[in-house]
C-alpha cells in the first residue's frame, strides 16, 4: 500500500518512492484513526502555520516526527495531492520517466550553456549537472505570508544596523548584549558616528528559508553582507521555464521580471545622468562569480573587481582605458571586510580601494553598505524577537531555526549539555572552515568551556531540525526529500519587493545550508491577471533604450590582460617557429643548414644564450629549455601557463571560437612531457599542432572580434611582440655578413614564413638587399617589420586620446614607421670592412627601443592605475624600547 492510495490511478506510479503508510496508518477502511491528529495538522496544511500562538524559542529544537507526520509539500496528511501541485504532477504523470528525462536533459543543457558563457573557470558545470530540477510549487496564500515575513526581516535588519552604527539604543536598553556588537568581527567599529547617511544599509536581501517537518517556516540564514545570488535565481528560472515549458505555462507561474524591473528602476534613479552601475565580484576564483557575471549582464551593469575602483575626493571611479569614470552605484559581491584598504588593511583584497571614504561622503550608493555584516548569517537569530518587538514594534512573522548565541553563559551550558544536537558556527560568517576547528563533542570539556567563554561572542550553536519534504526525481519516480530555499528581496520606492520564486535545494538532515547554485525552481502560481502578467524583460528594455555599438567601458585591468594575451600568443608563436626551423634544418641532411652556429642563432632569438656551451650541445640545450623548462621565460611551458591564466581572465571578452583555440592549445597534454629533441618528428608534430591552434586563435579574433578597444589592445600586444621578435631575428640573422651568407638569409626568410614570397619574386638564392626589402620594408608583406608598425599605428589612431593632440604612443609609432619607410634596402644591406651592416643594425636598434618604449607608454597611459596588483600596505610598527635605566 503506498501513499498513492488516495491518488488517482494514473499518478500512483509517479509517487512510488513515497512511504507506504503516509496517511491513515496504512488502513483506508473505516474512519481513519489519525483523523483527529490530522485535524491538528489541518492548520499547517492550510499554510497558516507561520504565526502560531507559541513561537518556538530560538533554543528549542522541535522533536523529530514519525515519517507519516512529516509535512510534505505535494501530498497532504490525508495522502491527497495538494491542489496547487496538480498541474505539474499531472504533467509529470503524462510525460512519464522517458519524457521527464528528456526535459531534464534539456534543462541541464540550458544550465551548462549559461555556465559556459558566464563562468570562466567552468566551476558551475559540475553543479549544474548534479542539482535536482523538479520544481517546488508554493501556494499563493502561503507565499503572501512568506513575502511579508521576508520584507519584515529586511526592515528589521535595516533598523538594527541603523541603530548599531548610530544611537545604539538596542545596546543601551539591553535588547542586544554588548558582546554581539563589540565581540563581533564584522561590526565595522571605525565607521561608528559617521555623518548620517540617506542611503539605506540594505538594498538587497536574501534569506535561506525552510519548512520544518511540523509545517512551520523558519529562517536558516540571513544573507546581508554581499548577497547577489540573483544570477543563480534568474539563470535557474530561464532554464526551468524553457525546459519545463508546458507545466510552467500551465501553472501560470508568477514571473521574476517585474521584481527586477523595479530594482533596475531604483538603481537607475540612484545613478544620475552620467553615473555608472557596477557589480563588484571577487573575480574568476570567487565561487559566486557565475551569479555575479550573469546578474551584471542582466542588469546592464559593469562587472568589476576590487582593483578596478579608485576613490578620490570622496567619490568612487572605475578605471577604464578612457580614464576614470564616475561610479555612482555599486552592487557589492565582495565582503565588507575585504574592501577597505585604509581601515582594514590586513583583510583587504588585493588592489582594494579605500571604499569607506566614498561611503562616508555619501557619494557612492552601496548595495549593501559597508559593515552590514554585523547582522549577517545568524547574528539576528537569537535576538530577532526582542528587536522586532522593540525596533519595529510588531511581532516577528518568520521565526528562526534553533540558534544559541555562545556569548551567553546559559546558552553555552545548554549547547554543551546536548552536544550531539548542535554544531558550532561563526555567527556572522557561517560554518567554520579551518582544520581542527572546535566542535561541541570535543573530548577536553574544560578546554571547550574556556574556549567558548573567551570566544563565544562570535560563535553560535546552530541546529537544523527535521525539515519538510518535497518531491524529488529519483530513479524514474518521485521521492520525498528534505529541502530548503533561497529567497530574494530588493528595496524599491514602494518598499521591499520579494521576488516571486526562489532557488530550492535538497539538504542533508542537520547540515548547514549549502552554498547557492542551480537548483529546483520555486513556482508561485498567479491568482490574478495582474500577477500573471509578464513584464518586458530588462534585456529587451535596455536594447530598446539605446543601441550599444562599443560594448561599454573597457576596464583598464581587462585592457592590460588583453594586451598581454596578445603579446603571449606572439611569443609562443615566435618560439614555436624558431623550434620548427631548427628541427627542420637538423633533419634536412644539408651540411651547411645543420651548422650549429646558425641553429643556435635562430634559437637564441627566443632563448637566452648560454655562452658556456658550444656546437650541437648548445643547440640541444636551447631546444630542451624552450620545450620543457618551466623557468625559461620564452619557453613553451611558461608561455602556455601564462596564456591560460590571462585567457581565463579575459574569456568573457573573447569570441567563443577564439577561447576554444586557446583552451585547446593550453590543454595539449603533449607539452606536459614534450618529446626529447632526438625524437624530432614527434616534436615537429606537436609544434605544428600548436602553431595551428595559434593560427586558429588569430583567425578567429580576426574574423569574429568586433573592432573595438578589446580588439585594439589585443592587436597592440601582438604587433609589439611580433615587431620585437622580427627585429631580434633581423639582428641575429642579417645584422652582419656571415659565411655562407645564403644559408643565414634563408633561415631568416624561413623563420618569417616568407620563403615562397621571396622565390616567386626573385627566383634566385637569397641575397641581402632583396631579403631586407621583403622582410623589413615591404608594406604588403604581413610578416615584414614595417607591417607591424603599420598595424600598431592603425590601432593607436583609434584609441582614446586625452587631448586634441596625437597621443605620445601614436607619435612614437608614427616616427618609427616613418624611419623604416624612409630606409633604402641597398643602404641597409651595405657591409663595413668587418662584415657588419651598420645601418641595418642602427635601424633595428631604434625599432627595438621604440617598441619597448611604446609598451611602457601604453602601460602608463592605460594600465597605470591597474598596477594595484602590486599594492603595498604601509605598516609602521610600534616598537619603542623600554626606557633606558637612569
Amino acid at each position: 500500500m503506498t501513499v498513492a492510495d488516495r491518488l488517482e490511478e494514473d499518478l500512483r506510479g509517479l509517487f512510488a518512492h513515497y512511504p507506504s503508510d503516509r496517511s491513515a496508518s496504512g488502513r483506508t477502511d473505516g474512519p481513519a484513526p489519525a483523523a483527529a491528529a490530522a485535524q491538528g495538522q489541518g492548520a499547517v496544511d492550510a499554510g497558516l502555520a507561520i504565526a502560531t500562538a507559541d513561537p518556538p524559542a530560538p533554543g528549542v529544537i522541535p522533536p523529530a516526527l514519525p515519517p507519516e507526520r512529516v509535512f510534505d509539500e505535494a501530498i497532504d496528511s490525508d495522502g491527497r495531492l495538494r491542489p496547487h501541485w496538480r498541474g505539474v504532477i499531472e504533467w509529470a504523470g503524462r510525460a512519464g520517466p522517458e519524457g521527464y528525462e528528456a526535459v531534464l536533459t534539456e534543462n541541464r543543457r540550458l544550465r551548462l550553456e549559461s555556465g559556459v558563457a558566464f563562468d570562466p573557470a567552468g566551476a558551475s558545470d559540475a553543479m549544474a549537472a548534479a542539482a535536482d530540477a523538479f520544481p517546488v510549487v508554493i501556494a499563493p496564500e502561503e507565499w503572501e505570508t512568506i513575502s511579508l515575513g521576508v520584507a519584515q526581516r529586511a526592515r528589521l535588519i535595516e533598523a538594527a544596523l541603523r541603530d548599531l552604527y548610530g544611537p545604539q539604543k538596542a545596546l543601551k536598553e539591553g535588547w542586544l548584549p554588548p558582546g554581539l556588537a563589540f565581540g563581533n568581527p564584522d561590526f565595522a567599529l571605525w565607521r561608528r558616528d559617521w555623518p548620517a547617511q540617506d542611503a539605506p544599509w540594505l538594498t538587497l536581501f536574501e534569506m535561506d528559508l525552510a519548512r520544518g517537518a511540523d509545517g512551520r517556516w523558519m529562517v536558516l540564514a540571513d544573507r546581508v553582507d554581499s548577497p547577489l545570488g540573483d544570477g543563480w535565481l534568474i539563470a535557474n528560472r530561464v532554464a526551468a521555464s524553457q525546459s519545463f515549458a508546458e507545466p510552467f505555462l500551465g501553472a501560470r507561474v508568477r514571473r521574476l521580471a517585474g521584481h527586477y524591473l523595479a530594482l533596475q528602476q531604483v538603481l537607475e534613479d540612484a545613478m544620475g545622468p552620467d553615473g555608472r552601475v557596477a557589480l563588484m565580484s571577487g573575480g574568476g576564483r570567487d565561487p559566486r562569480y557565475f551569479s555575479h557575471a550573469y546578474f551584471a549582464r542582466y542588469l546592464g551593469a559593469a562587472l568589476i573587481e576590487p582593483g578596478d575602483v579608485t576613490v578620490r575626493h570622496g567619490a568612487a571611479y572605475v578605471k577604464t582605458v578612457e580614464g576614470l569614470k564616475p561610479l555612482s552605484v555599486l552592487l557589492r559581491g565582495v565582503h565588507s571586510r575585504h574592501l577597505d584598504a585604509l581601515f582594514a588593511p590586513d583583510e583587504a583584497a588585493p588592489g582594494a580601494p579605500a571604499l569607506s571614504l566614498a561611503a562616508r561622503s555619501g557619494r557612492l550608493r552601496l548595495a549593501n553598505g559597508l559593515g552590514t555584516g554585523a547582522f549577517a548569517y545568524r547574528a539576528m537569530a537569537p535576538f530577532a524577537h526582542v528587536l522586532c518587538e522593540n525596533l519595529l514594534e510588531e511581532p516577528l512573522i518568520l521565526h528562526d531555526a534553533p540558534c544559541l548565541w555562545m556569548g551567553d553563559a546559559r546558552a553555552r551550558e545548554q549547547a554543551m549539555d546536548e552536544p550531539e544536537l548542535w554544531r558550532l558556527e561563526r555567527i556572522t560568517r557561517g560554518p567554520m572552515t579551518e582544520k581542527g576547528a572546535p566542535v561541541l563533542t570535543m573530548r577536553d570539556r574544560d578546554a571547550l568551556i574556556r574556549f567558548l567563554r573567551r570566544s563565544g561572542d562570535r560563535l553560535a550553536a546552530v541546529a537544523t531540525p527535521p525539515l519538510s519534504t518535497t518531491p524529488a526525481w529519483v530513479d524514474g519516480a518521485l521521492a520525498p526529500r528534505q529541502w530548503m530555499m533561497r529567497v530574494f528581496a530588493g528595496l524599491t520606492p514602494k518598499g521591499w519587493s520579494v521576488a516571486p520564486g526562489g532557488v530550492a535545494t535538497l539538504v542533508e538532515p542537520g547540515c548547514p545550508p549549502p552554498p547557492l547554485a542551480f537548483g529546483k525552481d520555486v513556482w508561485i502560481p498567479a491568482r490574478t491577471e495582474d500577477e500573471a502578467r509578464t513584464a518586458p524583460s530588462i534585456e529587451r528594455r535596455m536594447a530598446g533604450a539605446h543601441l550599444r555599438r562599443t560594448g561599454g567601458d573597457l576596464l583598464s585591468r581587462v585592457a592590460d590582460d588583453l594586451f598581454w594575451l596578445g603579446r603571449t600568443t606572439e611569443r609562443a608563436d615566435g618560439t614555436l617557429r624558431a623550434l620548427r626551423v631548427v628541427i627542420d634544418r637538423m633533419l634536412s641532411g644539408q651540411e651547411e643548414d645543420e651548422s650549429p652556429e646558425v641553429l643556435s642563432a635562430i634559437l637564441e632569438i627566443q632563448a637566452g644564450a648560454d655562452e658556456r656551451r658550444v656546437g650541437m650541445v648548445r643547440v640541444r640545450d636551447a631546444i630542451g629549455r624552450l620545450t620543457a623548462d618551466p623557468h625559461e621565460p620564452m619557453g613553451i611551458a611558461a608561455l602556455l601557463s601564462g596564456l591560460r591564466r590571462t585567457g581565463q581572465r579575459v574569456r568573457p571578452y573573447l569570441s567563443e571560437e577564439s577561447w576554444r583555440s586557446i583552451d585547446r592549445l593550453c590543454s595539449d597534454k603533449g607539452w606536459k612531457m614534450p618529446p626529447p629533441p632526438q625524437n624530432a618528428s614527434a616534436l615537429l608534430r606537436l609544434i605544428d599542432d600548436s602553431l595551428l591552434a595559434l593560427a586558429a586563435f588569430a583567425g578567429a579574433t580576426h574574423e569574429n572580434q568586433t573592432r573595438n578597444h578589446v580588439w585594439r589592445f589585443l592587436e597592440l600586444g601582438r604587433g609589439i611582440e611580433r615587431g620585437l621578435t622580427f627585429a631580434r631575428a633581423a639582428d641575429a640573422l642579417a645584422g652582419r655578413r656571415r659565411e655562407p651568407d645564403e644559408t643565414w638569409l634563408r633561415a631568416w626568410l624561413t623563420l618569417l614564413d616568407s620563403r615562397s614570397a621571396y622565390r616567386t619574386r626573385y627566383m634566385t638564392t637569397p641575397a641581402p638587399a632583396p631579403a631586407v626589402d621583403l622582410l623589413i620594408l615591404d608594406e604588403r608583406n604581413p610578416r615584414s617589420l614595417v607591417f607591424q608598425l603599420m598595424r600598431l599605428e592603425e590601432a593607436l589612431e583609434r584609441l582614446p586620446s586625452p587631448g586634441p593632440r596625437r597621443s605620445r604612443e601614436l607619435r612614437l609609432a608614427m616616427r618609427t614607421l616613418m624611419e623604416i619607410r624612409l630606409a633604402d634596402p641597398e643602404a641597409l644591406a651595405e657591409e663595413d670592412e668587418d662584415g657588419v651592416r651598420p645601418r641595418l643594425r642602427a635601424l633595428i636598434h631604434d625599432v627595438r627601443e621604440a617598441l619597448a618604449d611604446l609598451s611602457d607608454e601604453l602601460a602608463r597611459s592605460f594600465f597605470a592605475h591597474t598596477q594595484s596588483h602590486a599594492q603595498v600596505q604601509a605598516h609602521q610598527r610600534m616598537m619603542a624600547p623600554p626606557e633606558s635605566p637612569a
Binding site: 554588548p178 565581540g183 558616528d193 588593511p345 603595498v872 600596505q873 604601509a874 616598537m879 623600554p882
Partner: protein, 331 residues
C-alpha cells in the same frame, strides 16, 4: 608639568614611481585628561591632492592624504608640542573587585567601556594567556591593583627583543615566545585582561628617552610607543606601560587609542605602483621650554617609579641607540 615636542617622520621610497597613494594618518595628538596639545601639524611631500580630516569611533583625529601624481618618495612629517598635565593619582587598591568591574562593563551603563572588553584579532587569548591572567586576578582582587601587577609581571617575564616579532604578530604568539616589543607587550596585556572581559584599551604614542649619563641625546633615535589603559567603573581609566613597568608620566605623549594596533597604526595605506617600497621612520621627542628651546635632560623621569632592579638592556650598552628603529614594511 613638562612640555614635549614630538617629531615623527615617515618616509617611503618606491622602487618604481607610484602612480597613486592614499594613506591614513593617526599622527595628531588630542587634548586628553593628562595632556594639552599646544600645536600640531602634518606636512606631506609631495603636496597631496587631497588632505581630509575626520574623527573615528574611538575619539582619534585622523587624516587621509592622497597623492595622484607619479611620485617616487612620500614623506610625512608630523610635529606636535604637547604639555603633559599632572593627573590625580589613582589608588589601585581602592578599585572594585575585578569580577564586579567585568559585570559593570557588561551592563548597559558600561557600554562606553564594553567596547574594549572583547578580544580582537591581535588580542585573542589562548589557555596559556588566560591562566597567566588568572594567577594574578585572584577572586575578589581590586581590578586596578591586579592590572598593575600584571603590568609588572609582563615587564619581568618578557624580553624586549626587536626583530623577534613583526607588525602582524598576535598576542598568543608573542606570549609563547615571551619576547617582543612594546606593541607585543601591550597586546599580551590586552589579551589577558579581555580573557576576563575586563575593558582595556590600546594606547599609541611616544616616550621621551633619557640618554645615559654623560651622553648626548640622539635625534631621531626614538620610536613610536604603545601601552594600555585599564578601567574601573568608579575610578575610570588608568594607563599602564608594561614595557617600562610604570604609569605613564611626564615623558609620555598619547597619540591615539583603540582596541589594538590595527585601530591605532600611525600610518597605513595603499600605493599603486609596480615597484617595492622602503620605509624609514624617525621619531624624536624632546623636552622644551615655553620658547620652544630644548631643555637639558632631567636626570631621571620626575614621577616614574624607581628604576626596575633588572634593566632590560644589558648594563653598559646604550639602549636608546642599540634599539634604534628598524621599522619593517609589510609588502
Amino acid at each position: 608639568m613638562s612640555r614635549l615636542r614630538v617629531r615623527h617622520e615617515t618616509r617611503y621610497v618606491y622602487g618604481a614611481p607610484a602612480a597613486f597613494s592614499q594613506h591614513l594618518l593617526r599622527l595628531t595628538p588630542r587634548d586628553r585628561e593628562d595632556q594639552k596639545v599646544i600645536s600640531t601639524e602634518i606636512a606631506v611631500t609631495p603636496d597631496p591632492q587631497e588632505l581630509q580630516w575626520f574623527d573615528d569611533g574611538f575619539g582619534n583625529r585622523l587624516g587621509t592624504a592622497t597623492v595622484y601624481e607619479p611620485h617616487d618618495t612620500l614623506e610625512i612629517v608630523a610635529e606636535s608640542v604637547v604639555e603633559r598635565l599632572p593627573v590625580t593619582e589613582i589608588m589601585p587598591g581602592a578599585s572594585m573587585p575585578w569580577e564586579a568591574a567585568a559585570a559593570a562593563a557588561a551592563a548597559p551603563a558600561g557600554l562606553a567601556a564594553a567596547l574594549y572588553a572583547f578580544p580582537t584579532r591581535y588580542t585573542d587569548a589562548d589557555d596559556a594567556i588566560e591562566a597567566y591572567a588568572r594567577r594574578i586576578f585572584t577572586p575578589g582582587r581590586p581590578v586596578l591593583e591586579a592590572a598593575r601587577e600584571l603590568c609588572s609581571a609582563i615587564h619581568d617575564d618578557f624580553a624586549y627583543a626587536p626583530g623577534a616579532t613583526g607588525a602582524e604578530t598576535v598576542a598568543s604568539d608573542s606570549y609563547a615566545a615571551r619576547e617582543g616589543v612594546c606593541q607585543d607587550f601591550a597586546h599580551v596585556m590586552l589579551a589577558a585582561m579581555r580573557a576576563l572581559r575586563l575593558p582595556c584599551a590600546y594606547v599609541s604614542g611616544y616616550l621621551r628617552t633619557i640618554p645615559p649619563p654623560g651622553q648626548a641625546r640622539l635625534i631621531g633615535a626614538d620610536a613610536t610607543h604603545a601601552w594600555v589603559s585599564v578601567w574601573d567603573p568608579g575610578l575610570g581609566w588608568m594607563q599602564l606601560d608594561p614595557t617600562n613597568d610604570m604609569e605613564p608620566g611626564p615623558d609620555h605623549v598619547l597619540a591615539a587609542t583603540g582596541r589594538d594596533y590595527a585601530d591605532c597604526a600611525p600610518v597605513t595605506g595603499l600605493v599603486v605602483g609596480s615597484g617595492g617600497q622602503m620605509l624609514s621612520v624617525s621619531v624624536d621627542v624632546a623636552a622644551i621650554d615655553e620658547t620652544g628651546a630644548e631643555r637639558a635632560p632631567d636626570p631621571a623621569p620626575a614621577k616614574a617609579p624607581p628604576p626596575p632592579p633588572a634593566p632590560v638592556a644589558p648594563a653598559g650598552s646604550a639602549p636608546a641607540t642599540a634599539a634604534g628603529p628598524s621599522p619593517d614594511a609589510k609588502s
